[in-house]
Assembly symmetry: C2
Homo-oligomer: 345 residues x 2
């Protein structure tokens, strides 16, 4: 970030919008009209449209004490793109509504937009509209992403069948452990601002927290593998919560096997440092933005041995309920506890 | 509102979402999947899609001291629908992101949603998705509306031609004067809470402020009249600002005639009470959510004599600039001043 500070009030609302949108280019042929009219215009080109909205509130979803604005802008886009991929669709357009107080400078807002546009560029998405307004206190971002898919390709949460395998991309719990490291260093810094943050060795989990990726590559792999999941969801609230969503929406039970959970070594060692159970972090940590999906057993060979996918369980009949099988073979009821319960332990 | 108070925390996020969305029904065949998955799914049915986003922030856009939550919910939808109509399109789906602090009860949130759903019902729009999150302070609403139109029917801001007539629906300045009355009574109430607000005789302008309408009927009339405007915008920031948008986007000048401005008698008399010029209120007051559009001169007969439309000026060549002609025939440069400048006088 530059050292100079330009007050937002010196530009006015329209000046700010002109400045922020100067760098915006439309790349998708479906983006007919972008910023600059009462509404954006999109040509669906014969495809279905999927629409998702996420709101990020300062002090609730992010802490600008350790999240750079550029990373925040990037992540705000990624969480929306992830929802689109979770429908087996491709994000194409996005609108951004921002409420921002005058404690932010123009240079700070530039950083935020730079992060958003970097994410858009990486995922081939056009920023086509939005709203910029003042806020009485913190920063609030509300993003709506619009994607396309062929009707027959769309994957819902409710399509899982009994006996389907439950598969997850990537690894789990890293974003949560990255947050714990950031929170610890913030607490240390508060006590003594002369202490430099000790973040060495935590690169992977810090990136999982600060610069998560949405699994565009997984959607591409599905097409190459000629694989259509029967149900899918992205992991924003933790494996437990998302597995329960698929089970409930599909009218089924689910069984997860702890020994199968994909965990990065840094996630495991950091969890031990913090006296946390890595399994619990994977189940309840959230913000991994991996994809959790079910496939028919006949498609087992398509994911078997792939470094990108791990089979973590399977769908059962509804009467069998929601179960977690531990490493010793013991069964426990599967619950969505969320972060709060996790940290109270 | 009921007297009982249920804390939002007693429901949890998912309980709240279930409660709020229980009343949501999908009416449009184009709404394939609503709330309950990673994203909503829309079938465009061969039409273009238009998308608009507006964010409303407590303390900036509304004051819950005199705006009932039900009215706020209604208005939040209307301002978005108005943007869709301004494209000569029809709103079909909407997503709602809400950040809300624990000072609001469940009953209060129910009121807000009731207002939103009333507006959706009146305009045939489906609530298909959104996000509900906590806020550290005030209430923030971010709404994205999606509409449809045939490609050849869409009207942009930039389509006006030299010599086109500038036409406005309804009357102007009422919403602004309604706000002045509310602010005055709030100030009186602050000084002496025993004084009852004196709102008698101000019904029309109070409704213009608290329960504005989006001009769905005007879009229908265009179809019946076989009229396609050359350019269009909705009046959210005042006639001056919107006329300038059309002129600039179309690369033209514009001339407005003060004597033509449609003003309701209550707006005029209230403006005089407040020692304000009614013309200035129409030019800079905003929030009227009327439609401002241009038509070719050959279409003059289609709007002439209509009680719904008033010709307020015409488009000139760019070199002629932006002009306001007063009742005495004097010319003044047309500027978008906004509310702030208006109240400093």
């Amino acid at each position: 970030m530059q050292d100079s500070r330009t007050e937002l009030s010196s530009l006015g609302e329209f000046g700010l919008i002109d400045r922020l949108t100067a760098a915006v280019e439309l790349v998708n042929p479906s983006s007919i009209q972008g910023i600059g009219d009462d509404a954006a215009v999109i040509d669906p080109q014969g495809q279905m449209q999927v629409v998702t909205t996420d709101m990020l509130v300062e002090g609730v979803h992010f802490d600008l004490g350790y999240v750079p604005l550029k990373h925040l802008g990037y992540k705000a886009m990624i969480v929306n793109f992830s929802d689109v991929y979770a429908m087996n669709a491709t994000p194409k357009q996005v609108t951004v509504a921002i409420a921002i107080s005058n404690r932010f400078s123009l240079e700070a807002v530039d950083e935020l937009y730079a992060g958003m546009l970097t994410a858009c560029h990486a995922h081939g998405v056009d920023l086509v509209g939005g709203d910029t307004t003042s806020s009485t206190s913190g920063l609030v971002l509300s993003i709506t992403a619009i994607g396309t898919a062929k009707k027959e390709d769309i994957v819902y949460r409710h399509g899982a069948k009994e006996g389907d395998l439950l598969v997850v991309s990537g690894d789990l719990g890293g974003a949560f452990m990255g947050l714990q490291v950031l929170e610890r260093e913030k607490a240390v810094f508060k006590q003594d601002p002369n202490v430099q943050p000790d973040l060495a060795g935590f690169d992977y989990i810090l990136e999982r927290q600060l610069k998560p990726e949405a699994r565009r590559d997984v959607i591409s792999m599905f097409k190459e593998m000629n694989l259509k999941p029967t149900a899918m969801i992205d992991i924003s609230d933790g494996l437990a919560s998302e597995a329960l969503h698929i089970a409930r929406r599909s009218g089924l039970g689910v069984k997860l096997y702890e020994e199968k959970f994909p965990l990065d070594p840094v996630t495991v060692s950091t969890a031990h440092d913090f006296n946390l159970d890595p399994t619990t972090c994977a189940l309840n940590g959230g913000e991994d933005y991996e994809l959790l999906f079910t496939i028919a057993q006949r498609d087992h060979d398509k994911v078997k041995g792939s470094p990108h996918f791990t089979i973590v369980g399977h769908m059962t009949d509804a009467a069998s309920g929601y179960q977690l099988v531990d490493r010793q073979g013991g069964q426990h009821p599967l619950k969505a506890q969320g972060w709060d319960a996790l940290l109270k332990k």
